[in-house]
Assembly symmetry: D2
Homo-oligomer: 347 residues x 4
């Protein structure tokens, strides 16, 4: 059995990692650590994880994290580097936060500020990294993995087949997302209250400031774009989970419905967790709830010369914890799909 610790275990990302680990046949859950809630009963924070209810939350210390094969970091950005530095090199450390995703320290400085903690192998197995190549090839044996951002996952999966196949121009991308509230974490902010969120939709991070932008650009560049510019607007809508990403791009000369569909079929035909829907069926986030599935559909709008792609994921699963487990499986040499499901909880 693989012994696994989770830091930030009382938050949403940490809780979701644990939910999936509980259903993973090869994982044994070790330390559950957190900050201010250390010492309290775990069931108080994550009442849905009944098998762990009587555990006690530990402090995030090197001692408590020692003796594990895998450590998941589910911490606010800026905190992972210090914790990881205290862990042995042969421990698999999987960072669900942003600290180790970006390759460019300038991007880090511009979008997050502070010192860049460094770049780790990127935990998006489906990322196209060349003709016939995928990021999953880089993960076996890795002992540090950076889990992608949830919005980044949705937008990258929606656009990369067309970008890689040269069917769209990657310099005038536009993405608008409908986001569930769990993406904002458990932070106590007025606009995250149920009384404010129920019955309302509102945007955030408009105008190019959102921290997921350079990560999307990094991905699509790896997928084949020379240069990426993307207008990116997330919006909060009244659901607990889910991202519906509508991402559009200008069609390149000669691209049409048939070539687009072929590119997506080729890109995702063998993927276990990314599913191109049959023509005429559109993604719903409900169909992905609790599952590691990304549902993708595409349409060519001839009139305006744009490809429109719609991708639905569960932000906490394929967008965070599911991708993290998928990467753990690959890093440890397990079958990639171990402990993960494509079966959603609906309605």
């Amino acid at each position: 059995m693989i012994k696994v610790a989770v830091t930030g275990a009382t938050g949403y990302a940490g809780g979701e990692v644990l939910r999936l680990l509980l259903q993973h046949p090869d994982a044994e859950i070790g330390a559950l650590t957190a900050g201010s809630s250390a010492g309290s009963r775990f069931g108080q924070h994550q009442p849905h994880l009944l098998p762990l209810a009587d555990r006690v939350v530990a402090e995030t210390t090197p001692e408590n994290l020692a003796g594990h094969d895998v450590v998941f970091l589910a911490l606010p950005h800026g905190h992972s580097g210090a914790v990881a530095a205290q862990l042995p090199d042969d421990v698999l450390v999987i960072d669900c936060g942003a600290d180790h995703r970006l390759e460019s320290s300038d991007d880090w400085a511009a979008y997050y500020g502070g010192e860049h903690a460094g770049t780790w192998p990127y935990g998006m197995p489906e990322l196209i990294t060349g003709p016939g190549a995928r990021q999953r090839d880089a993960l076996p044996g890795a002992r540090r993995v950076a889990v992608p951002g949830c919005n980044v996952t949705a937008v990258t999966l929606g656009l990369q087949p067309a970008v890689a196949a040269g069917l769209v121009e990657p310099t005038d991308l536009v993405a608008v997302l409908a986001n569930g509230f769990s993406g904002a974490g458990k932070a106590l902010k007025p606009h995250l209250l149920a009384s404010e969120g129920l019955g309302s939709a509102s945007p955030y991070g408009v105008g190019g400031s959102h921290r997921h932008i350079p990560e999307i650009a990094q991905n699509l560049t790896r997928a084949g774009a020379d240069e990426v510019t993307i207008s990116f607007t997330p919006t909060l809508v009244p659901m607990a989970r889910g991202i519906l990403a509508t991402a559009t791009a200008k069609l390149a000369a000669g691209a049409g419905a048939a070539s687009v569909r072929a590119a997506y079929e080729e890109a995702y035909g063998e993927e276990p967790f990314v599913h191109l829907l049959p023509e005429g069926q559109w993604p719903t986030t409900a169909a992905t709830l609790g599952a590691n599935t990304a549902l993708v559909q595409v349409a060519v709008d001839e009139r305006v010369g744009r490809l429109v792609t719609v991708t639905a994921i569960d932000n906490l699963v394929k967008g965070t914890a599911g991708g993290a487990i998928q990467s753990m499986n690959l890093a440890l040499g397990l079958p990639e799909t171990t402990g993960l499901t494509t079966i959603g909880v609906a309605p």
Copy 2:
């Protein structure tokens, strides 16, 4: 492998049975049948069940149901009897509908109308049927099982330990429930539209007409009550799944907080799927989403001389399909918990 067919596969109950069967290690999914949607692609109706997406829905005929070890009936009430009559006696038939739950034909006539299809072994393993006895004892080897109603499950689990221990008077029970919309099925009725349901709460079946009433009475009588009277009011609230049942009863002479808690601990201490929460923690339906869990909490209101119990379940899991699988396991001699989870999907 156990070969399983599901009738009514395109509805909510049928879909949920399939969701659980897909995660059951010993089940192999055979025929998926339905009425008017026969011939269509299954993925169109249940897009969250991705592994079955390319299946075609079959008609509900004896031919299509032949050759299975288990057949689940997820049909509107009044339809199960005829289908079951066509199935061999040695096939395990599990009726998720109401047709075979009631022992009294008079109750059937009064609450449902029409001819009573008969009484099958009742698929609520946790039902107290005597000192130290449970309904699970009646299920091994059964080839016909009637799955309890979802509201019935919530109210019965909330009240039966106190009733069985003689700590409350069962003749002036009051239960009010907050119900998610999936409990109403996929019927196309104006009050079930999202535009109507979002942001609103409303009661239905008020004043003693709800069909789950005689079934609750039947259960609590088996648990030890001489006579049961219950005021029962369900209310639709804006969530897709979940039942939160608040059920109260007058305390019997001498009953108090300590004896009540002891009775619940004794009743549920060994139950795999019914969980008495620690004092001070109250159930939320979110914590049970997708899980076969019932979360129960109790309080003694000395001032008014009433026990107040609150029970949360997922109406489609512990309230329907999870209970059905639990009964299947028992009937077939499998470990009762096979393929079922107590881990919810939250937030």
Copy 3:
């Protein structure tokens, strides 16, 4: 014009008072005061009150409250007494908080703690206070008014006609409520986050501890009960506004459907804001959204000998600010319905 100040103007109760005052033909809005948000632009806190968006929030000081005809207090409990003490006797002070509702200092001490601020005329015009008498008779000329609690309003309106007419026994009442999140105010607590509340139902204040209990008892005693005992359980459900109160009582000897209906028709036939629905139609909270309406329906459950009443209100209107304006109108000698509506915003 009546010059009106509102303290606690950035909260939900204060905001709703202002929403209604903006539509009141005789009111002129003066000072908007608050605590920590003093000095900020009002539109930042209440973006829906566009005509006031450019106002600046003032501190709650005697100077800022001076020169107004009416002052609304929308403060956390325990704070109203001190502010009111600084206001002249001839200013109409309307307390939307709990401080001045209870007649019994013992009840105050038991349920709220601390010193009782005193008892003010009770601002529920429809409260039955004797044969043919209503609380509205006590309000003309009043210069201090205590606005009822929102849950109290729903339960009192649901039960009082039957209690006053002696048709039910008031000693074994049971009420369970479905409550929107705005009833909990803008407090930053984890369980009030949208991520937690969306898709979930949960109880609070179970077992007799809720502070609205003595106020309900006080009202029903005034309506004619010798002694009141009530089991009272509110539950949070995923909506921003609204209370659906299901309240039941044992029928007194001889009471039946006809006498009950007659009592409710007589009690509410002339009431402008309390509406008994036609038989067969049940209240929905959506139909009351934004309106000062209480929708009431009743059923006699002969089988169990109980009256079941269901009442829907908007907790912020009829449950708080609308009742407050109604009382203001009466206190100042204006027509009671001035500036108030029975027209909801639905769907």
Copy 4:
């Protein structure tokens, strides 16, 4: 008093027209007509419109519509022409449906099909029709008015100041909308059920097929564009009301944050119902609920050379019935704002 009839009175658009008329000081509500629900009690269909609850729904016949000064048509598209043809020329007929919005019969044929009923004066008073000119100038004295589509209103208001000022290129517009369910009407379709919609986001009309596209193009052409191409994707999100429209456009050479802001301030500074929010504050649909307000905010994303605009409206008010009343006021020579409010119902 102006005597007003409403056809389609039991639907959402008709109900909202009536909600506003009930609060209009100069309107007297005459016939309420509908199709299959003729003969039934109006309160059964629109329980929130309490003052009309006891009215009886009439059939939509020339006789029933005779004798009114104004007739609102709230019918499915394709039905307005026939009804209007039966009404005298001097009756003000306001069509809330699509039949008379488009100027181009080819567009009608391409997007709706069937014969084009003709073009009526367009009921969007704020539409820029030339330097310093607005569509409101065309409405006084009109006796036929076509009310804009709800999505059209949101996108037009978001983009037209920049288009009119030449600050953006109108040939690569992209708009993605979050839409409440009432926009889909009361049609009984499976994907509109609450069980499906709660907790889910999904797109519809993707890829250029949505019927609102030619109407947006028509408006922006009137506002000054030579040619308009727009990628338009609406998405259903779990709220009853509201549209949040994120609309982006490529900046023209020389355009920047200052010139953009100046253009929006100039365009909307005097508008009673379109409000440019202060910098840093973003629209929420909740703030517009029940109000005739459009909240607009803009951002210039220098990095990608795009203007991003976000507009929030209540689809049933500013998006339908409020715009209709505004047009009625103008047509009849009343002050444009009569009976309309900018005050939303929030939270």
